[in-house]
Symmetry: C2
Subunit: 343 residues, 2 copies
DNA sequence: CTGTTAGCGCCTTCAC
DNA sequence: GTGAAGGCGCTAACAG
């Protein structure tokens, strides 16, 4: 592995000069610059980040903008954990994390937190843009040289180095496949949808419905997820669902709120999302048949790793990083709880 | 973060002395040693590996001892890939990998390769001890100060810093749960077992059988996996299986050879293991219903990471690291192929 | 037994 | 424009 000193020697200049052209700072005569660059290219020079980090005294700071951890049944807490372990792994590299949690149900919250994040002049942003319209509205506050990674859901025309998430459509289809296997005969299957802003959730619902229609004799019927997080609202929805469909055999809830429904519904097959505490309990008790998982922790970890790779190591990062669609039932649940972090 | 220099200052000694006690090299008076250690503890000193690596000129070398990558339908190649990406992530840290591939079907191969591995005086060993008896027989050749990580299967009384694998019993139960869901009525389910030396495979079979017996009305019947990898042998087994059981409704193959069976058997439900090429093709075509995955790549990566952590960073590593039991069907297969490494 | 010193490869400041 | 020099934190060799 060639070093900056080697280059200097070959070019017949000092390491200071080499450094200058490598970082595009200070003035260097065009001739020496060209000669240095050609050596760099020819010899395949890559900077030694270990040395670089040691010497470099500035810390790189990342702003994490995401919903309050407790929202969506603590789903976001899992993401946060992953970000944390990502930082852990980066060990002695000088990176700072600053969190900005917004209330996803409060219209103004995103703006407030986002502007706070802008103010710290971070080198990179890790954003979970659940409130799509808001995220798009303020995105121009991010400077060109600040890198962003979008996590969990993607946004069109949002300039970012990477999006980390899951293929929502296939995920819905996977749920449908399972549903079709576990129902004993055909009937009506209820599908929950959500407010349009959270569109990747609805894509799951679409994948589910299209699969069921194409591959089974069952019918699907759509119900809206209560906007207010009150038990009474869920009860109303469940009542309506059961009243309207005497032949109700299954329910698909494309997000973490499946446990609310599972608690009230017996004798039908239920498939939902996310290994949040409330859901895993229902899975264990048998009220929920399958949960799909989107590896929130892994998403967080990958997101941080990607920012680091792009900003600190100055390496390219894949524009899309889709994680596996994980299927969880009672029998393999334990193996997921441990998550490779046991004992 | 406190540095070695800070400690020296506080203790009123030179950094050389501090270094000596931290590395247990050279003689240091008991008093100064005690005082330094107390400061270390009190201030929570952790060595800066970035600086350490930069300064340290010796490379640490790991010996990887595993079956030939192409064996078991290229399963081991997946493990190897994981080890490789693990190394990739360790980037500029000076670690060397040396592979020693043994032929798992050749009695003497393990001994030969293992002795070669011993000869390089590695700092750590990453061993996949499929041939349990051999591995145990020669383990004493490893020195006390050499750390070992066992991957894929574990060995009793084998002194190792960590075992990385999967809970075989639960994995069998998970397969059984799926089988019980997809069969339409009861009948006979064939289960394949293997030579006893590969015992974790048979534990899967046991988990499967016990679940089926307890939770369904179906019967299970055991057949042995052909020792010789000839198509004719598989054909014989399949013939026997179908001839003996007119009501054959399902087949469980607890390892990667499921595709041989799937190719010949129609109209029954089939569950097997591992996302090797031959199997994923059968999953796509519908001949196999579910595959369980044991994250071979992740296993490899974790194993390398664990060695690194323990040897280079001198940090503790969990003794058991069990990975999730992953369920794959046609609909989520694509998401696993990408494996977060796409685009 | 203990202190000093010269690097590891890169970055930054200062002087010419 | 360019070079020289000091330092990041740790290691290892050398001198007492």
């Amino acid at each position: 592995m060639i070093t900056i000193k080697d280059i200097a020697e070959i070019a017949g200049v000092s390491i200071g000069t080499v450094d200058r052209v490598l970082h595009n700072r200070g003035r260097v005569s065009t001739t020496t610059k060209a000669s240095i660059l050609s050596i760099v290219k020819e010899k395949g020079y890559r900077k030694n980040i270990v040395a670089s980090q040691l010497s470099n005294n500035k810390r790189t700071v990342f702003a994490v903008i995401m919903p309050l951890p407790h929202q969506n049944d603590y789903f976001w807490d899992l993401i946060k954990e992953g970000i944390e372990t990502g930082k852990e792994k980066l060990g002695f590299f000088k990176i700072d994390l600053q969190y900005f949690f917004y209330d996803r149900f409060d219209k103004h919250s995103y703006e407030i937190e986002f502007k706070k994040a802008i103010a710290i002049h971070a080198d990179g942003f890790l954003i979970a843009p659940v409130v799509a319209d808001q995220a798009i509205k303020y995105k121009s506050l991010i400077r060109e040289d600040q890198k962003v990674v979008l996590i969990n859901s993607d946004l069109p025309n949002f300039s970012r180095i990477s999006h980390i998430g899951q293929n929502s459509y296939d995920s819905g289809r996977t749920a449908a496949k399972l549903m079709s296997q576990i129902i004993e005969e055909s009937g009506t299957i209820a599908v929950i949808e959500v407010e349009p802003e959270d569109y990747h959730i609805n894509i799951r619902a679409r994948g589910f419905k299209e699969y069921i229609r194409k591959n089974t004799d069952s019918t699907v019927k759509t119900y809206m997820l209560p906007v207010e997080n009150h038990l009474a609202e869920y009860e109303k929805t469940v009542e309506k669902m059961t009243y309207e469909n005497r032949d109700l055999i299954g329910l698909f809830v494309p997000n973490s709120s499946v446990h609310y429904f599972a608690e009230m519904l017996k004798d039908i097959k239920i498939i939902g999302y996310d290994l949040v505490e409330a859901n895993t309990r229902m899975l264990e008790s048998g009220n929920i048949d399958f949960l799909l998982n989107q590896q929130p922790a892994k998403q967080g970890e990958l997101a941080l790793e990607s920012l680091f790779k792009n900003i600190v190591l100055v390496e390219d990062v894949k524009e899309f990083q889709f994680l596996p669609i994980e299927i969880i039932c009672r029998e393999n649940l334990e193996s997921y709880k441990l998550g490779g972090k046991n004992e």
